[in-house]
Every structure is written in C-alpha cells, then in structure tokens.
Amino acid sequence: MGDNNIDRREFLKRAAKAGIAIGAVTGGAFLLHNRDAVISAGESIAKVKDFRITGDALPQMAIAKGDSPAKIVKAAVEGMGGMKRFVSRGDIVVIKPNIGWDRVPEQAANTNPEVVAETVRLCYDAGAKKVIVTDMSCNDPRRCFFRSGIGKSAKDAGADVQLPKDYKFKKTAIKGEVLNIWPVYTVILEADKIINIPIAKHHNHSTLTLGMKNWYGLLGGRRKDLHQNIHMSIADLAAFIRPTLTIIDAYRILIKNGPQGGSIRDVRMMNTVAVSTDPVAVDAFAATLFDKKPEEIGYIVEAHKRGLGNINYTELQPVLINI
C-alpha cells in the first residue's frame, strides 16, 4: 500500500458529501417535478361586489338642463333625493369619468371637469371618507388628466386623483359572454360606491359611447381586441359592474369624429346632465340627444335583454329640472 491510499475517515467524509449532493439534486428535482403537462397559474382571481343601493322608492332618474355644468349636476342629484341617498358616512367612493383623450374641455372628448368636481363635492358633503377619481386613458394619462382639466378640478375639490399605475391591475372574474377573466383596475376592489360619469359622444364602431361603454376604462390588458365583439363586451361589463349611480354629462356632446374628436365644429351644446340608478335607461335617454332611437344601439338592446335595466326610460318617470 502506497501513499495514494486514503484513510477511513477521509473515505467516509467524501462519500457522505457526494451522497448529500446527490440527495439534494434528486430531492430538489422531485420537489419541483411537474407531473401534469399543464402549468397552473397559481393566481387568485378577484371578484367585484354589487355597488347598487337597495330600495327603489324615490325617483330612479333625473334630467337637468341649464347653463352651469356644476349647477345642473347638483340639481339632478337633488332631484334624485340628494347624494346622501347614495353615499353613506365613511364610504370610499370611486368616480369614473371619461379621461380618455389628450383634449381640452371645449373639444368634448372627456367628461366636463366641473361636472366631475361638483360630484366630488356632493360625495364629501354626503359624508364620504375618500373620493377617488381615476381612469385608464387611451392617450398618455399624464396629458389627458392635465388637459381635460379633471386632474386639477377634482384635486381642488378634495379628490384623490389617481393616474393609472401598471401594477394596480388584477385578474378579475367578469364571467360574461365574451369577457371571462380580465385584468381590472384594483381601485374598484377597494370601493364602497361607484359613480360612473361618462360624456356622451359619437363613436363610429359602437354608434355612441355613453355610460356602459365607459367601463372599458377600468380594464387593462388587450382591450383593443374587444372591438371585435363590441356590443356583447359592453353588455358583459354592464353586468359585471353594477354602479351606484350613472351621471351622463351631456353639457357638450360630440356628434362627429368620435370618440376623440378634436374640432369644436363637431361639438354641440346640450346643457344637459342625466342621473340614474339604471345604467340602461340613462344610456337610452342619452341616445335620444343624438336623434337616435335606443333600439338602434346594440349594447343597449343587449343589456336590456339581459335584464340589466330598462330601455324604455320614460317608464322610470324621470324628474325634469330646468334651471
């Protein structure tokens, strides 16, 4: 036996090390081994609550006309019985205007900033703890929030104005006909009440963009695909988010080159705001401002068919206010 031989201690040490190494590799492999061919997402799917208020004794729809955007929205909400009916003390309220485009208020591509600001104030007066104003813009959100005037007016009214952040989207169960699971802006998961404040506009593909179409702005992901089945996907969203209130801003409406417009020649003054707890009825009314019958618009018909509201808005006996 020469010097090449190792002693027993050394032999055991090396053998144990090799054994542990093999064990670690094999154990790790077994632990991570995926026996199913499909890889599971392992992601939680969020659910959204129903934001409607209960009871329907008081008026379900009010329409106000007048020269001041702030005054007519206030009058319309009062015609509905006041904001206290919808917002309780300590509520977190999410207000969803249309802040889709890098346009100024006169171009009527975004919700009127005074309408938004007044709604924020009404919510605070009714005792809301926090009012969040947000939208997922089509153009650069920083420019849209600034040039629409909504950023400043809502902030001045005390709202928490949130630019959309890319990590604030969560896969959510929509369970619709075309939309099943979709990334949705998580702000609606925190909300107690939701108020939808769209502007009424022309839209070449869906005919008009009104209240129910405005929910596109809470979606992330590849929402550009939705155009392939636009009326069904809008109805899906209307079934998914049941808002506390819909306030359609028709102070100025865009009658051509929508939804982003650009020229004030395409804008018509209507000096109108319509408020309702019924998202279908208020869209149906807004369609008449464009001299269209609600039955001409696919998603209004579809939403009515699904029982999400009443296409015959006159049956709601809207309160009419002129100031």
């Binding site: 939680s44 890098d102 100024v104 208020p105 089509c138 153009n139 650069d140 959100p141 920083r142 420019r143 929030f145 600034f146 040039r147 629409s148 005037g149 950023g151 400043k152 809502a154 902030k155 104005v161 630019l163 952040k165 890319d166 990590y167 839209h203 070449n204 593909h205 590849r222 550009k224 695909d225 155009h227 392939q228 636009i230 080159n257 939804p259 982003q260 417009g261 650009g262 020229s263 020649r265 395409d266």
Partner: protein, 548 residues
C-alpha cells in the same frame, strides 16, 4: 484643515454636486403630470434639462463648424472655455459627471495597488490618441458630419443611462413590485405604494421604457467603466475628445503647478492617486494639458515639492501635447473618410429608408445629421416611448440618432416636448399650432400610414374592428370607412367597416399602428414617406413644396 487639503475637499463637493445635478436633470427630463397648474399652461419641461449639453464646449464648437452658427443656449459653453483658459482642465476633475463616475470606478477596490498603480500613473505616450480622435471628429464636422456625440462624455453618459441603464432598473423594480403584490398583505402594499410613488416621481419613468438595440449601448458603457480596472480614468486619459479640446485650451491657463525639484525624494506618493497621469513628480516636466486639477498630488506630497498657484513658473511645464504631423494628417483624412464613405453607401439619400421616421420638427436629413449629437434627450422626454436610437436605419453615419418606432410608441398628437429639449436644434423649436395644424398652418407630417389588406380584420377576415379609426387624432380623421356586406366563413353575410387612409390628412403619428390588435405585425403601419421635412420623400403632388 490645512490649506493643502482644502482644494481636494472643495473638488469632492463640486463633483458630488454636479453628478447629482446631472442625474437629477436626467431623471426630470420627463413630463410627470401634476394637477396644480391651470390647463391654459402649455405642457413643458420647466427645469433647464439641457444644461450639461449647453456648457459642453465640444458640442458648441463642433456644431459651429458643421452649421456655421451657435444654436441658442450653446453660447453657455463660452463660460466653460473661458474658465478653462483661466484654470486649466478643471471641468474634467470638478464637473464632468462621466469623469466622476470613472474616478469612483477607479478608486473602489482598485485592480492595481502600490508600485503597479504608481507605474500605471506615470503617463503613456498613447494618451495623445484622444487628440487625434478630436481632430478626426472636427474634420468630419467641417464636412457636415457630426460624430462628436459618439464619444463626448456628457452625451455618452446621458445616452447610456437613458436607453440602457434606466429601463433595466425600471424592469427590476417592476419585478419586485409583482413579487410583493403577490403577498396580498395591506401593510406591505402600503409601504410599497409609498416607495413606488417616490421612485416614479423622481427617478424612474411613468411607463416602462424599452429602447431599440439598447444592449449595444449598454455593453459599450460597461466597457468604458471596466477600462478603469486597467488604468485610472482610462477614458479621460486616452479617449475623451472633450478632455482633449479642454487640454488644448488649457495651454493659456493662468493657474498651474510649480515644482521644487531639489526637494523631491522620489517617494512617488503623488503618483499613487494621480488622475490625469500628467507627471506631477519631481525632476520631470508637468504636462498641464493632461492635468485635470484634482490636487491629490499637492495634498500628499510630504516634502512640499508640488504647489498650485496663479502665474506659476513654467520652466518645467509642457503646455502642449506631443502630436506627430504624420498622425495629424492621418486622422484628418479619417475624418474626411467618415462623411464621404458613409454617404457613398446607398442608405443615404439615394434610397430613403421607410423606417427612418424622424421626430416632428426634425430638419431635412443632411441638416439633421449636421446637428444631432445623439444625446437621447428627445428619447428620454418622449411620453410614449416612441423615439429610439437607430442602429443602422440612418446609415452608419447616423448611428443612435432618433427614430420613431410606432409599434412601440406613437407620436402624441399635441406633444412637442422633443423639440423643446433638443440642445442643438436638430429638432427645431416648433409651436403647438404647427404640430396639430390650423386653418393657417399645415400640420407637421412625419410619415404616412398604409393598410396591409391581407391582415386587416375587416378587409381579410370579415371581422369588425376599426380600433385604428377610433384613435386617429386628426380632424377630419385620416382614416375613413367604407361600410360593406361581405361573406363570413360560416356562409352568412356580415356588415363590416373597411378602413382607408386619406394621405392628404394623415400626419404619420402612428397611433393606428400602435393600437392595431395584430400584435406581431400590424395591419396598418407608418413609413417615412410624406414627411414635411423632405422635398423628395413624397407621394402626393404638392406644388407648394417647390415654392420658396
């Protein structure tokens, strides 16, 4: 603190101040929103984000050579040149953020220590290479080819951080955000929301930016930093053309070093931390054009051999680099070679590249290349990540100049920010009215959109879509629709709206290409044809183009 230490102390404060200022201005080259101003205020960048380019003497002198005029605030370079005439190459040691970065990378855990470090700081005859690089660039500029930005330190640093470093940082931050979000813990999320808001308000960009072939720029940047392992401030000593230019101006310097040679004991302590390799030690001549005024030598000299003062005795000072006529001639010819070699190649002029969509307000291509230093200010400020550094789209001569890639980002209709931050006027200063057009002024066109009818959903597959038409920002829309009944695969007849382009109205903003749902290869795309800046790259007959 002794008098000898105080200059080193001030130098460090100055370096920290200017590197922080540089990065602060870089991070703030972005419109970050804000809800305090009234909407009648135009959207602009309020800070003087061009500052470092405007004091850069190489940018000023080379653009004066290539365009025969000094653009706007580039006149600030006069201050720096005058100061260099008084105090020598202090810019490199006291202000230049790239120099500071090199100094840090040289000093932290240095590769060479002791005698090896001293030897590496003795100076090398190859340090003159930077002067030949300068000559090459200036000769090329005479023939209107502006290449200084390739190696100018301010430009190099700004471009590298903007296109290669920050997007990576942003991405790693998003990765962390996703991981923490998955905990679903309200306290973790609240703290993280705070960190997220801070970093996105002051450092990172609003959206994740990604830049075309940024990794090439990133590798060059890392290489420049790693060269400090070979020798302290390798870049500053051998490569930097701006340092070379300042070295030439420093020959007039009133301030400088005086040595008491007889007191020197050859301890070589001065060489240990010498930044410029300018021979501070006794019994040799001091090379004033290499010295960057760090004052480390004066501080450490135990025998008081080295003294910096005004009007020093120049008996043992070399004020000029030892340049060889043969190499000057050669680098001059190389400078001549750049414009004519690259423009002789077919990419330039003889064949317009459809992908060469320049930012709105960009000058005609030859004038543009005579001004663009490839600093990437426009790419940093672009809110939609539309502007990218070219690789070869503008020919080898135009490498890293800005192009618009609509598939990644479109040109925001009312935005003119890139034209407000361009330090040299390669993108001229345009007005809001010019950008969107009015009854009096035609809007600036950067290209024209085209449909690929074989891929477009209504055209090829009887599927409704027209997302492009919805987003088209012009009035009237440049995309118009034909309503038509077409057979669907199931045999039924469906009504679709087929989109067409009106080339008279299209401005080439590319939002249609950006939003087209065909992800890999969009069914509508923009090419550079019809761009306002070119007389030749046109499709429509327009007699007004030929009026002067």
């Amino acid at each position: 603190m002794t008098k000898r230490n105080i200059l080193v102390y001030f130098r460090r404060i100055s370096q920290i101040f200017f590197i922080i200022l540089f990065f602060y201005l870089l991070f703030q080259t972005e419109y970050r929103g804000g809800f305090t101003k009234d909407i009648t205020n135009p959207i602009r960048i309020d800070l003087p984000v061009k500052f470092f380019f405007e004091i850069d003497p190489l940018t000023a002198i080379s653009t004066v050579i290539s365009t025969h005029s000094l653009y706007k605030d580039l006149i600030l370079a006069v201050v720096l040149i005058s100061a260099t005439i008084l105090f020598g190459r202090f810019f490199c040691g006291w202000i230049c953020p790239m120099g500071t970065l090199h100094q840090v990378f040289s000093a932290v855990s240095p590769a060479k220590k002791g005698i090896k470090r001293i030897e590496s700081n003795m100076g090398h005859s190859n340090q003159v290479i930077k002067y030949y690089i300068l000559i090459l660039f200036l000769v090329a500029a005479v023939f209107t080819s502006l290449q200084v930005g390739l190696l100018d330190p301010i430009t190099f640093l700004y471009r590298s951080v903007t296109t290669a470093i920050l997007p990576g940082l942003n991405l790693s931050f998003s990765f962390l955000t996703d991981k923490l979000n998955s905990f679903d813990n309200p306290y973790v999320q609240r703290i993280w929301d705070g960190i997220y808001s801070f970093t996105h308000d002051y450092i990172l960009s609003f959206i994740q930016l990604n830049f075309h072939f940024a990794w090439v720029i990133g590798i060059l940047f890392l290489t420049a930093l790693l060269l400090n392992r070979k020798e302290t401030r390798f870049w500053c000593r051998y490569i930097c053309p701006t340092g070379a230019l300042l070295g030439l101006f420093s020959r007039f310097s009133l301030f400088g070093m005086e040595k008491a040679h007889d007191k020197c004991t050859d301890c070589n302590k001065c060489l240990l931390d010498c930044q410029g390799a300018d021979s501070p030690q006794g019994r040799v001549d001091w090379k004033s054009h290499e010295c960057i005024m760090c004052f480390n030598c004066e501080k450490v000299c135990p025998e008081d051999v080295i003294k910096f003062k005004f009007f020093p005795n120049r008996a043992s000072t070399l004020t000029e680099p030892n340049l060889k006529r043969r190499w000057i001639t050669l680098s001059g010819f190389a400078g001549l070679f750049i414009p004519f070699f690259s423009r002789g190649s077919a990419e330039f002029k003889t064949n317009f590249n459809p992908k060469l969509i320049r930012p709105p307000g960009a000058l005609e291509e030859a004038e543009f290349l005579a001004r663009c230093i490839r600093c990437a200010e426009c790419m940093k400020v672009c809110p939609t990540n539309a502007l990218h550094p070219t690789l070869l789209e503008a020919g080898i001569e135009g490498i890293w100049s800005p192009i618009l890639i609509p598939r990644i980002g479109y040109c925001e209709h009312t935005c003119i920010l890139c034209s407000t931050v361009c330090p040299t006027g390669a993108i001229r200063s345009i007005t809001d009215e010019e950008k969107v057009g009015s009854e009096k002024v035609k809007p600036i066109k950067i290209g024209t959109a085209f449909y690929d009818r074989g891929r477009c959903l209504p055209w090829a597959m009887a599927i409704p879509c027209i997302v492009c038409e919805e987003h088209c920002p012009t009035t009237p829309k440049a995309i118009w629709l034909e309503e038509i009944d077409v057979p669907a695969p199931n045999g039924k007849i469906v009504r679709v709206k087929r989109p067409y382009i009106n080339p008279e109205v299209c401005i080439g903003c590319g939002i249609c290409e950006k939003v087209c749902p065909l992800q890999d290869q969009p069914a509508v795309y923009v090419t550079s044809i019809g761009e306002s800046r070119s007389k030749e790259n046109q499709v429509l007959l327009d007699s007004s183009r030929y009026k002067q």
